[in-house]
């Protein structure tokens, strides 16, 4: 077990290093390098000055060397400044992380609260009318473009009915968090509908799998009621894969809500990554992307570990 974790962590580290190099290289290929931006701010600079500046900041070095320098200074704690926000990147990331956590956590709980009964309800009578209806809804949920769903909800609840704000995080004078609650409703609902479909199908599948097992037949044979079978015998085992989903979703925390956050101007990590890439904020984009990758890899590892811990039949080499 310890060896497995060690191996996986090592593997994740390699992926991260490769990713950091790839993204670093890609950033250099994006329009507008730092010197261009300086020149556009000061028209009196000549091309000779530009060359001089490039040499001064080391931008005339080969890409591998530059990446290595970046890596060394990042590992020693110097993560750089954000160009867009004029502050250390870590100070920008922290509040965004909190906002994303609020949005994704809320939507995950809501989604599970609906998907759990729906999945169990559908799995209890496979191929029935109710199974068919729930399945069709899930099918529709998978196919709906998240950003369009968000736009439609804004059109209905913010534009036509005027019940809820169209985006942002709160009023200027907002004193407490419940004062900002209405700003959470539309993004959380959008994200929930986007995730609900896969959660429901997942739970239905897990429940069907469990209901096919011998111990369920035994429980039926000894005369246990359906309710007892579902809650006492089946559901607990069907929940094991759900824990896996939870771990995977934790990994997606950094980037999973990028579209929803952008549509609703919710200042989470996803929107931060998007703004940083479009705004030539290399330091911020690089760090946020790498953290997003690290979280995803960590989530995958946690999912595997949780699975092995909850289901003793699973053995990892």
């Amino acid at each position: 077990m310890v060896r497995l974790v060690f191996n996986r962590l090592l593997q994740a580290l390699i992926v991260l290093l490769l990713m950091s190099f790839a993204v670093y290289g890609l950033m250099g290929l994006m329009p507008g390098d730092p010197i261009d931006l300086m020149i556009s701010a000061d028209p009196s600079l000549s091309s000779a000055d530009a060359q001089h500046l490039k040499a001064l900041y080391g931008l005339d070095q080969p890409i591998v060397e530059r990446w290595f320098h970046w890596l060394i200074s990042s590992l020693s704690g110097n993560l750089g400044y954000s160009r867009l926000y004029a502050a250390p990147v870590w100070e920008i990331l922290q509040p965004a992380l909190g906002n994303s956590l609020l949005l994704l956590g809320g939507s995950f709980l809501l989604s599970l609260a609906i998907a759990l009964p729906a999945g169990v309800f559908a799995a209890l009578k496979p191929a029935s009318m109710r199974d068919y209806c729930i399945n069709s809804l899930a099918f529709a949920g998978v196919a709906i473009p998240t950003f369009w769903l968000g736009l439609m909800l804004i059109a209905l609840f913010a534009v036509t009915l005027g019940w809820l704000p169209a985006g942002g995080t709160g009023r200027l004078q907002a004193a407490d968090w419940w004062d900002r609650l209405d700003y959470l409703v539309l993004p959380v609902v959008t994200l929930t509908i986007a995730n609900l479909a896969s959660h429901t199908r997942f739970l239905r599948g897990a429940m069907l799998e469990v209901l096919r097992q011998d111990y369920i037949r035994t429980a039926r044979a000894k005369g246990a009621s359906t309710r007892r079978i579902v809650f006492k015998h089946a559901l607990r085992n069907a929940l094991i894969p759900v824990v896996t989903v939870l771990a995977l979703e934790f990994g997606a925390l950094f980037s999973g809500a990028l579209v929803t956050e952008t549509v609703f101007a919710w200042p989470g990590v996803g929107k931060l990554i998007y703004d940083a890439i479009l705004g030539n904020d290399f330091n911020l984009a690089l760090l946020a992307l790498l953290l997003a990758t690290a979280m995803t890899l960590l989530g995958n590892l946690l999912a595997d570990l949780a699975y092995a811990w909850l289901d003793p039949r699973i053995q990892y080499r």
């Binding site: 993204v23 890609l26 029935s128 399945n135 529709a140 579209v259 890439i277 990758t293």
Partner: protein, 297 residues
């Protein structure tokens, strides 16, 4: 399982047929966009600032957008782009995935481990942010010729390449699995014994036997790729205007929600319908080609 199961199967097949039919109609309508232009007496690219944001009328059936262009015609032309990206992107991804899956499954051993590790790595990456980075790369800095970069269709090729770069993993896994079982069969041994090389065995003897997983995974990925294209175009990084796609038609719709909410409805509804039809079709093909799979039925 008796009557409900039969009804279920029947319904599924009707949905599959429906999905195919919807895709066929959408494809034909998109292809006939120039015909629509002559019938309506309009030009799809014609900007007319005097007729901005008109509501649907007899002349403009679905109204006009913020530059006075006819929304119906732009939807038809956008359909061409979105369907093309979905289809070509899925096929290119399938070709990459089939190659990697065949190599991993047939060569086995260290190659298998390496290729599957790479596949796992790609699956674990945060997809959307990476797509955004790739879509933001300046082609000029890649050293591509200027006349290619300035071509209107360059964003089309770019998006197809980007989605294919990340869309091959599912096919690769399925093809590898199928190859592993085909590899052990006697006719492979026979082919090897008469001196066929690995490339020939993979292309002539294994490939025809692993077509079902390829077809299933490809058809299921079409809808997914259309969704990805629409998201990137919506964010302003996919298909670049004036070339219309259903995604980029929505990128200005958010600012127009107060003045012209109908603009936001049609493109998204078309994406929704198309993706759903693709998924129904892919699911049905899975039922038909892989009788053992009971995953969704």
């Amino acid at each position: 399982m008796g009557r409900p199961a039969i009804r279920w199967r029947f319904l599924r097949h009707r949905l599959v047929l429906g999905g195919g039919l919807v895709l066929l109609v959408l494809g034909l309508l998109s292809l006939s966009a120039p015909l629509g232009e002559t019938l309506l007496g309009l030009d799809g690219d014609q900007v007319n600032l005097l007729q901005r944001l008109q509501e649907p009328s007899a002349h403009h059936w679905l109204g006009t957008d913020e530059l006075g262009r006819d929304v119906l015609l732009r939807l038809l032309y956008g359909g061409r782009v979105s369907l093309l990206v979905g289809l070509v992107g899925a096929v290119v991804a399938a070709i990459i995935g089939t190659g990697i899956g065949l190599l991993a499954g047939y060569l086995g051993g260290r190659w298998d481990t390496l290729l599957m590790r790479i596949t796992d790595g790609v699956i674990a990456l945060p997809l959307l942010p990476l797509l955004i980075v790739l879509a933001a790369v300046d082609l000029q800095k890649l050293g591509l010729p200027a006349n290619l970069i300035q071509a209107e269709t360059v964003s089309l090729y770019r998006i197809i390449i980007i989605v294919a770069l990340f869309g091959w993993t599912q096919v690769a896994r399925l093809v590898r699995g199928a190859t592993l079982s085909v590899r052990e069969r006697d006719f492979i041994l026979a082919a090897r014994s008469i001196g066929a090389g690995p490339l020939r065995i993979m292309a002539v003897h294994i490939l025809p036997n692993v077509t079902s997983p390829i077809i299933i995974a490809t058809s299921l990925s079409v809808g997914h790729i259309i969704l990805l294209e629409s998201v990137l175009s919506f964010l302003g990084l996919g298909i670049q205007p004036p070339l219309p796609s259903w995604g980029n038609m929505l990128s200005h719709a958010q600012e127009m929600l107060w003045s012209a909410p109908w603009l936001a409805i049609y493109p998204g509804a078309l994406i929704f319908i198309t993706v759903m039809a693709c998924n129904f079709l892919g699911d049905g093909l899975q039922d038909a080609l892989d009788p053992r799979s009971q995953s969704s039925g």
